[in-house]
């Protein structure tokens, strides 16, 4: 599917996750965050960068792993991205939705 955002056309799946991380830009992240009423702070950016680097290293993401990342603890992760931190942060970071129950 195509989605128009920040004057650009990006490719997303039916749930709105970018299908190509190369199309991702920080401006797109800010726009996607707005859909969840989130204004990205420096702490948000640190988490997003961490998620992208883990994704590039093919590390499957889970709440437990993020809690042990030394980047953010679980409580803050939920505070930064309420309403489902792992799936929302992944969407904003332009990476696929993690298939994890933990």
């Amino acid at each position: 599917m195509e989605k128009q955002i920040c004057g650009k056309v990006i490719h997303v799946n039916e749930e709105g996750y970018l299908t190509d991380l190369n199309e991702w830009t920080p401006e797109i992240a800010e726009e996607l965050a707005k859909e969840y009423d989130i204004t990205l702070s420096p702490r948000h950016w640190e988490v997003l960068k961490y998620l992208q680097s883990e994704h590039k290293n093919n590390v499957p993401l889970s709440i437990r792993k993020i809690g042990k990342s030394n980047v953010v603890d679980i409580k803050e992760f939920y505070a930064l991205f309420p309403q489902g931190p792992l799936k929302i942060s992944s969407k904003i970071a332009g990476i696929p939705k993690p298939a994890s129950c933990l």
Binding site: S62, R64, D73, I74, K75, Y78, G84, K87, C101, L102
Partner: protein, 160 residues
Amino acid sequence: MSEFNGEIRKMMIILSKATLENVYAAFVLANGARMEGIEAEIFFTFFGLEAVHKKKLEHLHVATVGNPAMHMPTLLGGLPGMEALATSMMKKEMEKIDMPDVHEFLDILTASGVKLWACKLAMDMFHYKKEDLYEGVDDVITVGDFYKQGAGLGTHMLFV
């Protein structure tokens, strides 16, 4: 089903058993709810209380007797050491799939905003005190209190 288009907003999970497979089922369901932005609360009652009892929560076992999925004759499952063996095998498998132990799982649940309640009646029955319980337990409450917690549209209740 018109409320929130039938969406689940809150999961109220009642854990009444202390076998590892049931405790994990309740914890995974609560954690999975929070990951989707759904509220979650767990009510620990009867043997389920052992999952939040400081001295017991590290020593929960898989049930080898009366558990057809173990594919083991009941007599064999009752032999000394069988439960410990099955439990250690299951724990090894859980570590492989990045499943936390019970204590760490409770830490994850509380950090994720899951509310943990201990059943007053069961506490009285087992002569447990609040200080015997994992520190993240919010309070000791009655069934009525738990139902009040579940007030609102989109709440679902689950008995494990």
